[in-house]
């Protein structure tokens, strides 16, 4: 470790309060992520090692650069005390640099600033944006579901769901089990936001704390999940949503729809026997429909899976495969599917994300809607007579 002979008597600064004007600083923080690199000096071609990554102390996360770091490396989760760290600014955000003048030493996690939950600013769900942290929210758990995932070689369980307050909804994923269940009212401290598929998402890990609260001012999950459909134009304006409800008419299908083949490992669709990630694989047959739903104000894509496709089409996977054996042309099947779906009025609920091609919904439910023609006729005739 780089050791300076003249330690400067500086007060410990919280990462939230870093500013270039107050450099250098003394900080204590945990390494969230680090990466070792070497930089080639232009003057003599010599190589100089550096470690860069992210540090957090619960109030903020900042990037750090550590010139000439210890050879043994730094493990993720290590708590460091750095005295005489320089604060620089990059793209409007403060960063820390450890130079030969900085004294860096390991510290104990108990030395990390203990911040009372009330010290974190209370934010509304709507006010949260990607990369936010060091805040407190009071929310309702709308729904939550455990999902096993594989991270590298490790198998873990992530709890995914949706939170809401009176201002809006936000998806979350938790890497620790906080024993959450739908309907809980909780205060969450120590979470952070990242962007997932273009939308902000709250991430909770073992550093977050979740406490049950009594809250009558939070919306009921049932009300949120049964909200009335809104226009597709609005879904486009808002860049998707976590609990969209849309009603529209099927105006087309996007390829690939109908009978598709999926990679047995990653479920990606397989083109001519080749998976994008796993190469040559034996594709497993599946049904899907990429439905273009239109309500006259806009259009979006609904990615219906096998169960929904079978129900809407009235054709099972086995039957589709039998048809395929008789007439080995997948576009014919897609045509038959469109023939059944075109013009059907559907009400779709689920989270939707937006990209360059518009909004895509991963449906949680798809209902076929029949409208009451007599009621509609009297409503419209009243409107016509009311007008000039």
């Amino acid at each position: 470790m780089t050791v300076s002979d003249t330690p400067e008597p500086l007060a410990e600064t919280r990462l939230r309060a870093l500013s270039v004007a107050k450099s250098p600083v003394e900080i204590i923080a945990r390494v969230v992520q680090s990466e070792r690199r070497e930089v080639t000096r232009r003057s003599d071609g010599g190589r100089r090692p550096l470690l860069s990554g992210l540090l957090t102390d619960g109030t903020a996360t900042v990037r750090f650069t550590w010139w000439d770091p210890p050879r043994e490396g730094i493990e993720r989760g290590t708590v460091l005390r750095a005295v005489g760290a320089e604060v620089r600014e990059f793209r409007g955000r403060p960063e820390l640099t450890f130079t030969w003048k900085t004294r860096v030493e390991p510290a104990s996690p108990v030395e990390l600033p203990r911040i009372a939950p009330e010290e974190f600013p209370l934010k509304s769900v709507r006010a949260l944006a990607a990369r936010d942290e060091g805040f407190r929210v009071r929310v309702r758990i709308v729904r939550v579901q455990a999902k096993p995932v594989t991270v590298g070689a490790e198998r873990r369980v992530v709890h995914e769901g949706l939170i809401a307050d009176a201002t809006g909804t936000l998806p979350f994923s938790s890497w620790s089990d906080f024993q959450l269940s739908g309907g809980d009212a909780v205060q969450i401290v120590g979470g952070y936001l990242r962007e997932f598929r273009g939308r902000p998402q709250l991430v909770l890990d073992d550093r977050a704390t979740v406490t049950r609260i009594d809250a009558d001012d939070l919306p009921e999950p049932a009300a949120l999940l049964r909200a009335l459909p809104r226009s597709i134009a609005r879904a486009e304006d808002e860049g998707g949503g976590d609990a969209l409800a849309i009603e529209g008419v099927v105006v087309g299908l996007l390829p690939p729809s109908g009978l598709v083949y999926r990679c047995p490992t990653c479920r990606r669709s397989v083109k001519s026997g080749i998976c994008r990630v796993h190469g040559q694989v034996e594709g497993q047959p599946d049904l899907r429909a990429r439905i273009v739903l239109d309500d006259g104000t806009g259009a979006l894509t609904v990615n219906a899976g096998r169960a929904d496709t079978e129900r809407l089409w009235g054709v099972t996977l086995a039957e589709a495969r039998a048809r395929m054996r008789d007439e080995p042309d997948p576009s014919l099947l897609e045509e038959q599917l469109l023939e059944v779906l075109l013009g059907r009025r559907l009400r779709v609920r689920g989270p939707g994300s937006k990209d360059d091609f518009g909004v895509t919904i991963t449906p949680e439910s798809i209902e076929v809607v029949e409208i009451d023609l007599d009621a509609a006729a009297s409503e419209l005739s009243a409107r016509l007579e009311g007008g000039r």
Partner: protein, 304 residues
């Protein structure tokens, strides 16, 4: 960001009355047809009675078919070519008029004197039950009324704040289309158009039979802004001029390189036969209106 164009829910009448075209510039430009009633259409969804299709041009192998879709307000030509094989197969599949829905792109061909020929180039067609057709008409009337209300509101107070309208759930595209429509169709009788929606509502209520399949599909629908007096039938003298015109057109087209008759050549030859330019223009307009002659390229004529 190029989002998919929504399918505007409109009646045949509104399509027929749309004459203001907005052509986009640049690569993959999108063009729109602006109706007097606040629809800025690239794609539409229309429902009605679809007539059997007929081939366009002299032979069936030309690969372009046309049918007519009628609703209680009017009728519109629906075309499909070999670039829309599924829609074309659907158009050709029927021998009898049937209820149907059509999703497609609007297409305006503009003749002389501001006469427009609106058609829908089908992307998808499906025969439906009568109830489904009526349900589609519900959307068409409801959204048309929404747009008419928006027009009224903007006309009364042109400075209405857009954010207030947006808060009510009015799409930004509708507000823009309504503002454009007010500006570009200042003289339109919206009350008359509103009355024309009444038969549609009766149709939704099941009180009236589907409209007749209408005139044969070879006649292209032609409309100037409504309301418009029907043109008197042509006189014998006018018919004679038409046949002179057509003979000349065939003669010139026969020897031309590209198979088209050059408009200037037709007009100058007609003048030598005693038909002056403005008479020739009106003959041409009538022939185009009747769908006998078309001008797919400016200044180039051919038999439709």
């Amino acid at each position: 960001m190029a989002l998919r164009e929504p399918a505007w829910r409109v009646t045949a009448r509104e399509l027929e009355s749309a004459l203001e075209e907005e052509r986009g510039a640049g690569e993959r430009a999108v063009s729109y047809l602006l109706s007097p009633f606040g629809a800025r259409m690239n794609r539409v969804l229309v429902a009605g009675t679809l007539s059997p299709a007929e081939p366009i041009g002299r032979d069936e192998s030309s690969g372009f078919w046309r049918a007519r879709l009628s609703d209680p307000t009017g009728a519109i030509a629906v075309t499909a070519g070999s670039f829309q094989p599924r829609a074309m197969a659907q158009l050709r599949s029927a021998r009898e008029p049937r209820p149907a829905i059509v999703v497609g792109k609007v297409h305006l061909y503009r003749g002389r004197d501001g006469v427009g020929y609106v058609s829908v180039r089908a992307e998808a067609v499906r025969s439906t039950s009568e109830n489904e057709e009526r349900a589609m008409l519900v959307d068409a009337v409801r959204q048309t009324l929404d747009r008419l209300d928006l027009l009224e509101r903007l006309e009364k107070s042109p400075t209405t704040d857009e954010t207030a309208l947006r808060a009510d759930g009015t799409p930004a595209t509708w507000i823009r289309a309504a503002r454009d429509a007010l500006q570009r169709y200042p003289q339109v009788d919206r009350a008359a158009f509103r009355r024309e929606l009444l038969p549609v509502v009766r149709r939704i209520a099941g009180e009236s039979a589907p409209p007749p399949a209408g005139t044969p599909p070879t006649v292209t629908v032609t409309r100037a802004p409504p309301p418009r007096a029907a043109a008197p039938p042509p006189t014998a003298a006018e018919r004679a001029e038409e046949s002179v015109f057509l003979d000349l057109l065939d003669e010139i087209a026969e020897v031309s390189v590209d198979g088209y008759a050059d408009l200037k050549e037709v007009l100058s030859r007609l003048e030598t036969q005693g038909v002056v330019a403005d008479r020739a223009e009106s003959v041409l307009n009538r022939l185009e209106e009747e769908g006998v002659v078309e001008e797919p390229i400016v200044g180039k004529l051919r038999r439709a």
